[in-house]
Amino acid sequence: MLFGYAGTILCVDAGSGKIDKQPLPPSLAERFIGGRGFVAKLLWDRLPPDTDALAPENVWLAATGPLTGHLLPASGKTHFGAKSPATGGYADSNMGGHFGPALKYAGYDVLMITGRADAPSILVIDNQSVALRPADAWWGTGALTCETALKKELGEDFQILTIGPAGEKQVRFACMSHDFGRQAGRTGLGAVLGSKNIKAIAVRGSGGLTAFDLEGVYQAGRQAFDKVKAKPGFAGWTPEGTAGITNWVNEVGVFPTRNFKTSYADFYKNINGQAILEHLKITDKGCYCCPTPCGKYGKAKTVLGTVFVEGPEYESIALLGGNCLLSKIEEVAYANWVCDELGLDTISAGAVASWAIECFEKGLLSQEQIGRDVAFGDLAAVAHLLEIMAARKGIGDLLAEGVMRAARQIGGGSEDFAIHVKGLEWTGYECRNAPGMMLAYMTADIGAHHNRAWVLGHDMAGSAANVHDLVSAGGSGDKIGKATIKDKEKPVIELQHIRPLFDCLGICRLQYMELGFEGDNYADLFQLITGRSLTWQNLLAVSERVWQLTRTFSVREIADFGRQYDYPPARFSNEPVPSGPNEGHCLSRDELDALLDAYYAARGWDKNGIPTAAALERVGLEDISRELAACR
């Protein structure tokens, strides 16, 4: 018996309507734990060869972990995956809220959707009853509007996942939305659902979960809450949530502005966490069983309208605020809301919008093509760009393809400032003087993303000869010395195992990463819930296995995959930071190569960044190694 898990993979063929409930294989749970581990292995096993990401054959997955839904801090995560519309390789995205627990309480660890429905549909999972229903009433509506309607129609006790018009139009960075403000943002998984004609998934779960040692879990779970509440940082984190980092990123000059041309905003105090508290916030909104709710739900008034929105998170502040130069928190929140309702990833959409504005400034896109003049700092212009990309209207059809593909089409040097890796747009940290973080972005498996390995602290620590060279108050405007590129692969690799482990367990990592809630606590809870005795190090070894697997998936899916896919855009080598704390810095091609060489060597990959058979065998992926060799 698999304690702690629901025990079932729910397979839905949207084309035929066939529902198949498959037992969760114990070997899958044993080797890959859950969540991201399930996504990686099931994609490897079940995706047919030569599948296009937006074809019916793509496999869309929603996976929980063994700790999802149990009484412990922040047990509400869901992990989604498919072949990536953005990169053509491995795609996954993680989401908070309450969807994953509902799926488990309904009796399912994983939901897998293949095929394409004949007509727009919603998937309703009411415990053991699973059916596709027509979605005519809702196709074309906003993601938030659709959730509101479905909650009313089906009942408040359903957890709802929706796509917006952007997903319906298969915009390559369309997201999935849930709980009025949570998203699975990255890699375009909303487009995959849209390509399957699935508008929404509604889940009600009224069943219970098992645990190996129920009394033990109950006691340890309550103690876990007490321990987190007793952490010295407990009260300090929640008030501003992720927006609380905005001041710091500007002080150290890593805040992207003007399409990553510059890295500091003199208006940052107008768009930071304090600005949210002063001008927007109504409620601290949290995920399932979370003691430190980071969601800031509020109301924003602008000339374009008044909206209710959860956020903006730091990333939205960076990519819509900094990158598009929206200098008031209400404007950032409004743009955030536009993305949420349209079903666009705020990160990629902000990056695409700022790329388009730079193209307009350089005469590579015209007013006629765009439909109006656009400029940095112009909310109406940004909103217009978001709308046309979501609708694939006019030049929006090209913008909807993401910066990599759009720049290939537009040319004129625009590829140099298309800020992406592998086809996934960059997130909220400008790295020309942060080589560790640059390496993290280069080697993240889904494309440019910060959440696998966040090493900016290491980069800052390595940016001064000795600590007495530093300005005591850490003010902005003080120039920062060049950060060392030596040994950066070590913390990157370590964190690439630690952070995604939480995606395998099915819970949030914040209490560990930010409050110091120790890893051994999770190992103890894992043992009480599943009956398996794994140390924290054992669990990290599984996460390392998954890391090698996701890289290998991209090797299999992308014909010429390798080192060339790991480089950042030319801007970061050719254009030193023009102003701000990191003025004058950039990373040369040689330095990027040195970073990659060290990383590949540490990973056991060849010089082209391909996992070797030895590397795969070392992490227990002999079968994957054989299968890869067979198909190459």
């Binding site: 940082g233 009260a235 730091y314 600590v467 530093l470 108050a473 850490g474 809630f517």
Partner: protein, 79 residues
């Protein structure tokens, strides 16, 4: 006058500074800028995002003029 300050390093911070203990004690004979106290403790102020001083959020530019338990929070990834 003698001010005793206990600096507690968060889990995230100790990942960046693995050779530092969980708690560093600094003694000052006069009120001092929080950022300067960090330098005297051998901690790069740039790696500190937030300080919690006696349970309240504070800044590196705040003056510490009494005994304090200071919890140091490293910057983390926004979502």
């Amino acid at each position: 006058m003698s001010i005793t300050i206990n600096l507690h390093l968060s889990g995230g911070l100790r990942a960046i500074l693995p050779d530092r203990p969980e708690c560093i004690t600094v003694t000052c004979d006069r009120p001092e800028l929080a950022g300067q106290i960090l330098i005297e403790a051998g901690i790069n102020p740039r790696v500190i995002m937030k300080l919690i001083v006696n349970g309240r959020v504070a800044d590196k530019s705040d003056i510490i003029d009494q005994d304090a338990e200071i919890y140091l929070i490293a910057p983390m990834a926004g979502g």
